[in-house]
C-alpha cells in the first residue's frame, strides 16, 4: 500500500470512528503543481488526500494556538519528519494538548522546492508529475516539458535531513525511510558557508538589499508552527513599540530578529517561513544559522526529545559562556 493510501485509510477510519472532528492532510490545489493543506471532515472525502514530494506544508501550523476551529476540536494530521519536530517543540512546552491530536507520521525522502523549479522556466508551471521515485516531470503553460532528478530540485534542508521519519506520531504511513547515522554525522550547515565567508560590510549591504524587499505581511510568523502569539505578536505592538511599524530594511531585519529570538531553541528549521515568504527572503538561512549556534553552544537540536525543554527556558550551572 502506498503512503498515500495509508494516509487516506487512517483519515477515513479516524473520521468514521469519530476519533477526530477533522483530519488535516494535503490535497491538490488549483493544478497538479500545487499541493495545499486539506481539511477533511467526511470520511468519503478522504480520497482527496494526497502524498507526494510537493506536500511541503507543515500542517502543525494548523493546530497551534488560535488555529483550530473550534478551539477544542479533536484533530488528525499528517506530519513529516521535520514537521514532527515542530510538534515535539510544542509538546515540550505543553502548548498543544496531545490528547486532542491523532498524528499520522509520514516518512519522507525529500520535498521539491517549487521555487527552484519556477526559476528554471519563464512560463508558469501548471503540471508536476512523479513518473517514478526520484524523478520529477514538469510541464509549463506554454507546453514545455522537462524531466528532472528530484534530488537536484529539493529544498535546501532535505539534502542533509537527519530526521526523515517522524519523531512523534500515533501511526505511520508505510515503512520508515532510511535514517542517517546520527551518532556519526553532525547536522550539516554547509549552506551557510558562503554567507559566513563574507566580510562584515558585504553582509550588511546584502542584508539591506534583501530586507528592503520585505513587506511585513506576517506570513513567516503566521505559518511558523512554533510561533504561537499570533494576534498578540510583539511585532505588532505599539506599546511597547519594540519594532517600528515603519517598513524599511532596518526595521524589517529587526522584525525578523524578534521572530528568530522568540523561536530560538524551539525552531527546528522546518522552513515553513522560508516557503511562505511571498518575496522569497531566505529566512531559512537565518534560522539555520541560529540552530547551528545553538547546536554549537548546547549540542541541542530543537524538537527532538519530548522530555527536553527548549534551551532558553532553562539553564545549566555548568554553562561556559562569557568571561
Amino acid at each position: 500500500m502506498s503512503r498515500q493510501d495509508h494516509i487516506r485509510e487512517f483519515a477515513a477510519n479516524a473520521l468514521t470512528e469519530k476519533r477526530v472532528d477533522y483530519f488535516i492532510g494535503w490535497k491538490q490545489g488549483y493544478n497538479s503543481s500545487e499541493m495545499i493543506p486539506a481539511f477533511v471532515t467526511d470520511p468519503a472525502e478522504a480520497d482527496q488526500l494526497v502524498w507526494n514530494p510537493l506536500c511541503h506544508h507543515n500542517l502543525v501550523t494548523f493546530i497551534k494556538r488560535n488555529m483550530p476551529e473550534p478551539a477544542d476540536a479533536k484533530v488528525g494530521l499528517c506530519v513529516k519528519g521535520c514537521d514532527s519536530r515542530t510538534l515535539v517543540a510544542l509538546l515540550q512546552e505543553g502548548l498543544v494538548d496531545k490528547d486532542r491530536l491523532y498524528v499520522v507520521g509520514v516518512p519522507c525522502d525529500g520535498i521539491v522546492d517549487r521555487r527552484k523549479l519556477e526559476k528554471m522556466f519563464s512560463s508558469e508551471i501548471t503540471e508536476i508529475e512523479f513518473p517514478e521515485r526520484g524523478k520529477v516531470k514538469v510541464t509549463t503553460r506554454a507546453g514545455e516539458t522537462k524531466e528532472l532528478d528530484q534530488k537536484d530540485v529539493e529544498l535546501i534542508g532535505c539534502a542533509h535531513c537527519r530526521y526523515p521519519n517522524p519523531l512523534y506520531s500515533d501511526n505511520t504511513a508505510g515503512p520508515l525511510e532510511k535514517e542517517p547515522d546520527r551518532e556519526e554525522t553532525k547536522p550539516d550547515w554547509s549552506a551557510l558557508e558562503q554567507y559566513e565567508s563574507l566580510s562584515d560590510d558585504v553582509k550588511q549591504a546584502l542584508l539591506e538589499k534583501i530586507y528592503a524587499t520585505c513587506i511585513r505581511c506576517f506570513a513567516c510568523i503566521h505559518v511558523c508552527p512554533v510561533c504561537v502569539c499570533w494576534d498578540k505578536c510583539v511585532n505588532r505592538s505599539r506599546q511597547p513599540e519594540l519594532v517600528s511599524q515603519k517598513v524599511g530594511p532596518k526595521e524589517n531585519l529587526l522584525f525578523q530578529m524578534v521572530h528568530m529570538f522568540h523561536v530560538a531553541g524551539r525552531c527546528p528549521s522546518c522552513g515553513a517561513c522560508d516557503r511562505a515568504c511571498p518575496v522569497e527572503i531566505p529566512l531559512g538561512l537565518l534560522h539555520a544559522k541560529m540552530n547551528k549556534e545553538i547546536y554549537d553552544m548546547f549540542g541541542f537540536e530543537p524538537g527532538v526529545k519530548l522530555d527536553e525543554k527548549p534551551v532558553f527556558q532553562v539553564f545549566d550551572l555548568k554553562d561556559q559562556f562569557g568571561d
Binding site: L207, I210, P249, K250, E251, F261, K289, E293, M297, L317
Partner: protein, 160 residues
C-alpha cells in the same frame, strides 16, 4: 594599574577623529550600556568613588537584573545607530535573584553570535560580568570596549 589606563582612556576614545572609512560621520562613538542594578551599576559607582577615569562615550541604562534584559534591546540599539552595546551583570552565582544571569548568559551568547552573523563586528558588542566591588574591572572593561569600538569608528549600519 589604574594610573596607566587612566591616561589613555579619556584621551584616545573621545577625540572623535575616527578611522571609520570614507564618508564615515566624524563624531565620537556612542556606546549604550545596559547593566544590572546590583552588581555592574554598583560596580560603575565603585569606579566613580575610586575616581577611575573612563572614556565618556558610554551611556548606562539601569535594570534590576541581566535576566530582565531582552537581547533585542541590543539589536534595537544597533537599529537606532548605536556604535557599540555593552551589557554587564553579576558574576554567575552572584545574581541578586539567584538565577537571572544564568538565563541571560545563554541569550546573550546567542545574541552575540547572531549579531556577528548580521555583519556587526564582534568589537561592537560585549557582555560581561562586573561585581559591585570591581570598580577597577569596570574601568578596564569600559576603557577596552570603547577603545575597540573607537578603533572601528562610528557605525553606518546599512541593515540594523
Amino acid at each position: 594599574m589604574a594610573e596607566a589606563t587612566n591616561n589613555q582612556a579619556s584621551g584616545a576614545a573621545t577625540t572623535g577623529a575616527a578611522p571609520g572609512g570614507a564618508g564615515a560621520p566624524d563624531r565620537p562613538v556612542k556606546v549604550v550600556g545596559i547593566v544590572c542594578n546590583w552588581c555592574s551599576y554598583a560596580g560603575a559607582d565603585t569606579a566613580g568613588v575610586g575616581r577611575f577615569k573612563q572614556p565618556a562615550n558610554l551611556r548606562l541604562i539601569r535594570v534590576p537584573c541581566t535576566g530582565r534584559i531582552d537581547p533585542l534591546f541590543a539589536l534595537k540599539a544597533f537599529e537606532k545607530g548605536a556604535d557599540g552595546v555593552l551589557i554587564s551583570g553579576c558574576h554567575p552565582g552572584d545574581c541578586h535573584y539567584s538565577e537571572g544571569n544564568y538565563y541571560a548568559r545563554r541569550k546573550f551568547e546567542l545574541a552575540e553570535r547572531m549579531i556577528h552573523h548580521l555583519g556587526i563586528p564582534p568589537e561592537r558588542f560585549k557582555w560581561t560580568w562586573v561585581s559591585a566591588s570591581e570598580g577597577q574591572r569596570w574601568q578596564k572593561v569600559v576603557t577596552e570596549f570603547v577603545a575597540g569600538v573607537q578603533k572601528l569608528g562610528p557605525r553606518e549600519g546599512k541593515a540594523l
